[in-house]
Amino acid sequence: MKTDLLINGNRRTLDADNRTSLLDALRHHLGLTGAKKGCDHGQCGACTVLINGRRINACLTLACMHDGDEITTIEGLGSAEALSPMQRAFVNHDGFQCGYCTPGQICSATAMLEEIEAGWPSHVTADMTAKPSLDEHEIGERMSGNLCRCAAYPNIVDAIRDAAWRDQE
């Protein structure tokens, strides 16, 4: 089945088996291996990409469901020569070790800051009507869908706060 996708600003036409997940479409068919497969079950977040600006586990959705959708992967956020502020902060704060969960962490964190900006509360938000803060509990809660076995969590939190803070400047 043919599916038209707008990936990182480029129009791509995918012709793949209907059973192809969005993650496998990216990794096996479109040459975008930045999104990682850690579980294929929606349990680790390594495959996180942005669809129309919102974070999603690419392993939990079929590519053919996204005809016309705008998809941003880690490759679309920045390049090694021109890192996004979040990518730069992950490097500076050593927010990774093996790097395998990292593209998912960065896509997730990028969208998460938008969610905070939009005032979405989380499980740990004390006041549902106020703008959520960027303290370590809010970040920890909102980033808990992205597992890191290397356990760079404290550095991931620092990196996200740093990037958010730079953003506000």
Binding site: D24, T33, M143, S144
Partner: protein, 732 residues
């Protein structure tokens, strides 16, 4: 030109201290960072490959039996299916670390639930997955599987039992004594990148892109499994998405991919699924540990007993070395060390981050907490009183011993003096608050390694080794060593790793990667310095290299001007020697944790944690800290949530995914303080650096369970400390 060194004695030259570039020890960002944060680093299954087809492993759904046949014809008729490989050369389970030969092979004798029996290959992943699920296996299950470690008669290997003095008498005469049995469950390494391989043949030449830790061994293991010459095998693993021991030895997906690729004359990609990683790679054995401590009125130990029961598959030599550190942790002239091994039909047991100490030190540190409580001695003080003068078992000196400093620095940094020694005294609303501590111990090792360093005519340098960087920071620290030795800025040094065509490094395992490969690079650079000094007309010690310039006396020249028009090249080669037997080498540390336990649900939250560690010279302050953080977070997982649950009826791992096997998530981890102590261990290697990748987990869990006791008065001796084990104790 090769410079070779065998580590027979202490090297007191401390050459790195003479260097002026200032790279070693600095918190350099990982050179591989930009590629990793942009998704541009290609892991094993990601190399763009033409005509690639996909294989999915089919595994036995029984813990013991005999595979009679399978529905090959029906599955071959499915769309896209190219081959079904079921071959006696396929691996029963991965090779153990440094095995250097094939592990047990074969698909007909089923020894555990999840053993691979076939590989189904198709044009697309979706077709292969469907076909693999459709393959019907006919397995005869006549014999009863051995599933319960307590129900089988264990092996008692003679070389794993030892004793000194008379522990029974020491226990009888002791003023304070602990005699308790503790259990830890099986753990999974669970690296975020599942094991994966792409195999490709050109004639008789096999290239495998894999996710492996120790390539020089993996090459021989793969060749031996396939029955071909190692020279016909090349393995590439420039980026590895975590290993933690599970990728030490060649694994079933690599051999299956190679067999299928040969058969089809096409490249084949095989990636394990997450359940495959849990069931078909390695687990840390569950342990049962009886610990006896005998102490005098001052809390000084007179005896230690540590007897353990672990398990593994039939035919596996590895046995979790639970008592590895017990030999030298604390004083005590009367000792019994013992180990029994139950042969079970369970997923293969192998190395998982800090095999031995991760569970062994943790349990002894729980027993020490019980002793401190009984004797009314502060737990930190109790440990300090029991630091031995020399290795109490081997009666050799310590190369360096920083436990006391680590205890003091950690206690100070954490604010240990605020702890109330009486349990159940501190409340914060529904939360019961407690503090606990434990010491850290891990043996230190050096392994044979080679590395090549090339100084180019333009004044840049390249480092080459088959060593891997599994997240440990190899790219960074090798860069830094070369920068200091050759006076170069980091951007002028390139590191190439993870290719068996390059000189053989030590591999990543046992925390020996940085010291071993770092030394190989150091030696190669020493040789280059000698050649540069000759060209500059001075003695090597008189040569100062900085920022691409050579300074001799009051003369200063650009390094490139000293070079011949071609590159200058040297290989460094380090081998371990008698140093490891002349002295006891280890790394030390101390953990402090504050927990909050809900009085209503029994749930434990770690509120803060501090670790102080001594691991010789720190090569990169940033990546070293990250290694410690990672280890301590593993301690949180071990203490609170991680346990492989084996179905007692059929032997499969009931929680074979991340929804059910709970590794710590971001919200489970507080900010953690890491204190790295200054230490230079001349016996370790010419860098004076020691291993750090595992020290962070060698007792961390005990700091948490000891804190739970301080918070609640409940001693959990059966890991992990889930709320069902705490809650009943809160009600009384």
């Amino acid at each position: 030109m090769t410079r070779h060194m065998k580590m027979d004695n202490a090297d007191t030259r401390r050459r790195l201290d003479d260097m002026v570039q200032g790279a070693v020890g600095a918190p350099l960002d990982r050179p591989d960072g930009p590629l990793k944060v942009t998704g541009a680093a290609h892991y094993a299954a990601e190399q763009p490959t033409d005509a690639l087809c996909y294989g999915v492993l089919v595994r036995a759904p029984a813990a013991k039996g005999r595979l009679l046949n399978m529905s090959t014809n029906a599955v071959m008729a499915l769309p896209g299916v190219l081959a079904i490989v079921s071959d006696e050369r396929m691996l029963r389970n991965p090779a153990q670390g440094t095995a250097n030969e094939a592990p047990v092979q074969g698909v007909h004798e089923i020894a555990y639930f999840g053993q691979p029996v076939a590989l189904v290959v198709a044009e697309t992943f979706e077709q292969a997955r469907h076909a693999a699920q459709a393959l019907q296996l006919h397995i005869e299950t006549t014999d009863e599987a051995a599933l319960d470690p307590l129900a089988v008669e264990p092996e008692i290997p003679e070389d794993k039992q030892s004793s000194m003095g008379d522990l029974d008498a020491a226990m009888k005469n002791a003023v304070y004594r602990v005699d308790e049995t503790y259990t830890t469950p099986s753990h999974s390494s669970a690296p975020m990148e599942p094991h994966a391989s792409i195999a490709q043949w050109e004639g008789e030449q096999l290239t495998l892109r894999g996710s492996y830790q120790m390539l020089k061994y993996n090459r021989n293991e793969l060749a031996d499994s396939l029955g071909i010459e190692p020279k016909n095998v090349r393995i590439l693993a420039p980026y590895v998405g975590g290993g933690f021991g599970s990728k030490l030895g060649i694994a079933p997906e690599a051999v299956a991919a190679a067999l299928a690729a040969k058969k089809l004359s096409r490249p084949v990609s095989v990636a394990m699924t997450r359940p495959h990683v849990f069931e078909t790679t390695m687990r840390r054995s569950e342990t049962r540990q009886r610990v006896r401590l005998a102490a005098d009125a001052q809390g000084r130990l007179t005896g230690i007993g540590h007897e353990t029961l672990v398990s593994n598959l039939p035919g596996e030599r590895f046995a979790e070395p639970v008592t590895q550190a017990t030999a030298f942790m604390y004083r005590g002239e009367n000792r019994i060390i013992g180990q029994k091994i139950a042969r079970l039909n369970r997923t293969c047991a192998g190395s998982v981050r800090a095999p031995g100490e991760a569970v062994g030190v943790t349990i002894v540190e729980n027993a020490m907490d019980e002793l401190a409580e009984q004797a009314g001695i502060d737990p930190v003080e109790l440990r300090k009183r029991n630091i031995p003068e020399e290795d109490p078992t081997r009666q050799v000196p310590f190369s360096s011993h920083k436990l006391a400093e680590a205890l003091d620095a950690g206690a100070r940094g954490f604010g240990w003096e605020k702890r109330n020694a009486i349990p159940k005294q501190v409340r914060d609303g529904e939360w019961m608050i407690g503090m606990g501590m434990a010491s850290a111990f891990r043996v230190n090792m050096l392994k044979e390694a080679q590395a090549r360093v090339r100084l180019n005519a333009n004044g840049t340098a390249e480092i080459e080794s088959d060593q891997t960087d599994i997240g440990t920071g190899t790219y960074a620290i090798l860069t830094q060593i070369a920068c200091d030795m050759l006076g170069l800025a980091p951007e002028n040094v390139t590191v190439r790793l993870g290719d068996t065509d390059l000189p053989p490094g030590s591999g990543s395992g046992g925390s020996f990667g940085a010291a071993s490969n770092g030394t190989a690079v150091f030696l190669a650079c020493e040789e280059l310095r000698l050649q540069l000094a000759t060209a500059a007309g001075c003695a090597e010690p008189d040569l100062t290299l900085k920022d691409g310039k050579a300074i001799v006396g009051n003369r200063q020249v650009i390094i490139a001007e000293l070079l011949p028009s071609t590159a200058l090249e040297a290989t460094g080669h380090i081998e371990p020697g008698d140093a490891s037997s002349k002295v006891r080498q280890a790394t030390y540390g101390a953990y402090f944790a504050e927990v909050a336990v809900s009085a209503i649900t029994g749930e434990t939250r770690v509120r803060r944690m501090t670790g102080a560690f001594a691991a010789g010279r720190i090569l990169n302050a940033k990546t070293a800290r990250s290694q410690c953080l990672g280890g301590m977070v593993w301690g949180i997982g071990m203490a609170l949530t991680e346990a492989l649950e084996f179905d007692p009826r059929y032997g499969q791992i009931a929680n074979h995914d991340f929804a059910e096997y709970h590794i710590p998530v971001n919200a489970d981890v507080p900010q953690i303080d890491v204190i790295l102590l200054e230490e230079h261990d001349d016996w370790a290697n010419p860098l004076q650096a020691k291993g750090l990748g595992e020290l962070g987990i060698c007792g961390a869990g005990a700091a948490i369970t000891n804190a739970i006791y301080n918070a609640t008065g409940v001693r959990v001796r059966d890991y992990p400390a889930t709320l069902d084990k705490i809650l009943p104790g809160l009600e009384t």
